[in-house]
């Protein structure tokens, strides 16, 4: 366990977490107006309608995969009678399909962004940075999925990355376990942390306000003038009248 390990796997995760939570709160407090998908569908629909669902649905499966892989301990799946081989087969299958559709999806979206004049014009530096990190995370993630399937202890993330990830929550990071993981996993984790850290400051924040409440609210929303005027905290000069 070197100092670098401690910094990377013991300190950095908490820094990332602080940035993610703090950044999100800050943005919600001060930049609700900027909190949007900034959709470019108005300019171009044809490619978007292929690329965007491919990317987003792929990503949803990927997220579910991460939750299962990271949060459910190996002992539980063992107890449920799922063999290591069996687990890996399904992880490989689902992971590869989801990963590739995500990658193809974002590929289409980036191609569209680059080639459709108005969409390219509407791309900010912030967006470009976000795309770099996002694509890196997806590529590295796909690599780990494939590697994980190749067997070998160092590639069995459920013995290295997952225990470390869970240990973070009880504030006793299992740095030892993480340092045993392969380089691909290290890389993917680092990029993942970078992605989490930039998340609140990019347009990716829209994911945090996925409108699930739509399923439960009445169709027609009424607001009275008083409550309607200030969904953000009133600022100086904008006191409610």
């Amino acid at each position: 366990m070197t100092t670098l390990d401690v910094v990377l796997w013991g300190v950095l995760p908490y820094v990332t977490c602080a940035v993610l939570v703090g950044g999100t709160l800050w943005r919600y407090r001060y930049d609700k107006f900027g909190w949007t998908t900034r959709s470019s569908q108005l300019y171009e629909s044809r490619l978007l309608r292929i690329g965007s669902p491919l990317f987003h649905f792929g990503l949803l499966v990927v997220i579910v995969g991460h939750v299962i892989g990271l949060l459910i301990p190996k002992s539980w799946t063992d107890a449920a009678g799922l063999s290591q081989e069996g687990y890996h087969l399904q992880a490989l299958l689902l992971g590869t399909i989801a990963g590739i559709s995500t990658l193809v999806g974002i590929g289409i979206l980036i191609y569209r962004r680059r080639t459709t004049g108005p969409v390219f014009m509407a791309t900010t530096k912030n967006d470009k940075l976000m795309y770099v990190v996002l694509v890196a995370a997806i590529v590295a993630g796909l690599a780990t999925t494939l590697l994980g399937a190749s067997g070998g202890d160092e590639h069995n993330y459920r013995l290295t990355v997952s225990p470390w990830f869970r240990s973070l929550f009880v504030l006793q990071p299992d740095i030892e376990a993480m340092s045993r993981a392969g380089i691909a996993f290290h890389l993917h984790t680092l990029i993942g942390m970078a992605l989490s850290a930039v998340w609140p400051f990019t347009r990716l924040v829209h994911a945090f306000t996925a409108p699930l409440q739509y399923l439960f609210r009445p169709y027609i929303v009424y607001r009275s003038r008083e409550s309607g005027t200030a969904s953000r905290a009133p600022r100086r000069g904008w006191d409610r009248v």
């Binding site: 001060y30 930049d31 609700k32 107006f33 900027g34 909190w35 949007t36 998908t37 900034r38 959709s39 470019s40 569908q41 108005l42 300019y43 171009e44 629909s45 978007l48 309608r49 965007s52 669902p53 990317f55 987003h56 649905f57 004049g117 108005p118 390219f120 014009m121 509407a122 900010t124 912030n126 967006d127 400051f201 990019t202 347009r203 829209h206 306000t209 409108p211 699930l212 409440q213 739509y214 399923l215 609210r217 169709y219 027609i220 929303v221 009424y222 607001r223 009275s224 003038r225 309607g228 969904s231 953000r232 600022r235 100086r236 000069g237 904008w238 006191d239 009248v241």
Partner: protein, 567 residues
């Protein structure tokens, strides 16, 4: 019974001369910004014509509004909640910018910078979206005054529908053509499908006055409302990534002023006032089985503000006395419900629209006069109304889901008024038989005439001033903007165009307009707080005067005095 108040509008189409003043002033007030260059909260379209955005009325294509299911319930035509969430990553029926039009500017610089030569320099059109040269091929009002109608007129969804019934009912040959103008704003519907479509719950109907608004802080740019509105009156600001729509000029209405479009209307054809309606029965009324009954169902929702029962219920539901008084004097209630000469636009969309139209008699009158008849004779007019079935069917498709009867009745009333008033004006004995032929009395005709023809400002706009006591506070708010970050000062926030503190556009516009209207001098760009005309600014670059000059970098030019610091 739950009584609610609704600010409504009536437009008298006979008076619309298609000058587009309402559109221009609305644009200047509300959408003179980047990202909404293509947006017209108010637009005036020539009918027959495709409208703006192109063919918006064709709900088979655009899937706006509500449909009634077999079980008699209302469903959003574009799909219910689950469908919406599943298609949230790419809205399957969002209009493309080209369906509105690609906004452009001209490369004026070549005009001023071109070297001396034999050729005239040309200002090329340039897209405001991509910055590339473009050829201008479509825009709002491309088919104004039936321009290109032989070619484009066929694409009018209503023409298509009428044609389906009979081959040559509508003609675009010059001698047989007819046309009128249709100014359109958001209908501030009682059953707004845009609100129902918003997954974030950012759109809402105001309890007090029924104005439908978008909460800019809560909108996340899912763009379902654009699809949901069958009138296509919610627009997507492509820079901020938020939906925007006509606000019924609520900052003005709140202080008792008419909307900008009404105030500036050259023909004085707009009326503003209150409706009282029964909120409990809205859904039932919007779900009646027969589309042709929707107009009547909508009329039945409107409550009589003179009825003691209604007054008692309204008081119970917290409607203020001066609002009740305004409802009693409401010109829109009179035109829609008492005289029944105003009709809702496309009731078959089942959103219960609250902007009503007095259909135009002029195509009928024009035809009579052209053919050498007396256009004010009631017999001629009544005969022509029936003979000229085409305009009536067309109007019926617009206003009564295809039922010609109510349109015919309205036109007969207007014709009777015309004829009756000629006698009065010429000092001849008034002919009450004319009034009766249209099912009215002479006194009613006189009253209606007064409202339609000579009503003054206060009679056309009866806007309750419940907020009056707060008006000066609203102004205070404006002043504080100088210190509070200042709207419009930032342009781009750290996260791109959309981020940073919101510039409350109403306040920004309020100040800009007040300055423009109250100062006699041209702005000296060196002066603190000098402004540029945002209407002419395409959002690119920083024209001089957009920001106050930094005092250290640019000392005041010799000869001008340093302006005194304002308190």
């Amino acid at each position: 019974m739950k009584v609610m108040a609704q600010m409504g509008m009536v437009m008298n189409l006979d008076k619309c001369i298609g000058c587009h003043t309402c559109s221009v002033t609305c644009k200047q007030a509300w959408t003179n910004r980047g990202g909404v260059e293509y947006v017209w909260f108010n637009n005036v379209e020539t009918r027959p014509g495709q409208g703006y955005p192109r063919r918006y009325q064709d709900q088979d294509q655009w899937r706006g509004g509500w449909v009634r299911t077999k079980r008699g319930r209302l469903r959003l035509r574009a799909g219910g909640r689950f469908r919406k969430l599943l298609s949230i990553f790419a809205n399957p029926v969002l209009p493309n910018i080209k369906d509105y039009y690609e906004p452009w500017t001209y490369d004026y610089e070549t005009l001023t910078n071109a070297p001396l030569g034999d050729d005239f320099p040309v200002a090329q059109p340039k897209s405001l979206l991509s910055g590339k040269p473009m050829s201008v091929e479509w825009s709002a009002n491309w088919d104004d005054d039936l321009g290109g109608a032989p070619e484009h007129g066929e694409s009018d969804p209503i023409v298509e529908r009428i044609r389906r019934e009979s081959e040559d009912k509508i003609r675009f040959e010059y001698e047989r053509a007819f046309m009128f103008y249709l100014p359109r704003i958001c209908e501030h519907c009682l059953n707004p499908s845009c609100v129902a479509s918003c997954p974030s719950g950012a759109m809402y109907k105001r309890v007090e006055d029924g104005i439908v608004l978008v909460d800019q802080d809560q909108c996340r740019g899912w763009r379902m409302c654009v699809t949901g509105c069958p009138y296509k009156k919610v627009y997507f600001n492509h820079r901020t990534g938020k939906a925007e729509k006509c606000t019924l000029c609520y900052p003005r209405v709140e202080v008792g002023l008419p909307t900008v479009c009404s105030e500036t209307c050259v023909g004085r054809l707009r009326y503003l006032g209150l409706f009282l309606y029964d909120a409990d029965r809205v859904t039932a009324a919007a779900s009646v089985a027969d589309e042709k009954e929707l107009y009547q169902a909508q009329l039945d929702l409107l409550l009589d503000p003179d009825d003691p029962e209604v007054i008692a219920a309204a008081r119970r539901d917290g409607i203020a006395e001066d609002w009740l008084d305004a409802a009693r004097r409401s010109p829109v209630y009179k035109l829609a419900k008492v005289y029944k000469v105003a009709l809702p636009l496309h009731p078959e969309f089942r959103t219960m629209p609250m902007v009503w139209y007095v259909p135009p008699l002029s195509p009928v009158v024009d035809r009579l006069v052209e053919t050498g008849h007396d256009g004010e004779d009631v017999g001629n007019l009544f005969g022509a109304i029936d003979a000229l079935r085409i305009p009536i069917e067309y109007l019926a498709e617009l206003f009564t889901a295809g039922d010609p009867e109510p349109v015919r009745t309205v036109l007969q009333k207007l014709a009777a008024m015309r004829s009756y008033m000629r006698d009065v004006t010429l000092g001849r004995p008034a002919n009450d038989a004319v009034a009766e032929a249209a099912g009215m009395t002479g006194a009613e005709i006189l009253e209606m005439y007064r409202l339609l023809a000579i009503a003054k400002y206060e009679e056309r706009y009866v806007i309750p001033t419940a907020y009056e006591g707060q008006a000066h506070e609203l102004e205070e708010i404006g002043c504080s903007l100088d210190v509070d970050g200042g709207p419009g000062m930032g342009g781009s926030g750290p996260f791109g165009e959309a981020s940073g503190r919101p510039a409350p556009v109403s306040v920004e516009t309020f100040h800009a307009l007040r300055q423009r209207q109250t100062s006699d001098d041209l702005v000296d760009p060196g002066e603190r707080g000098a402004t540029v005309n945002l209407l002419n600014w395409d959002g690119k670059g920083r024209p001089a005067g957009l920001f106050p000059p930094s005092r250290t970098d640019h000392p005041a030019p010799i000869g001008t005095t340093e302006p005194e610091t304002r308190p």
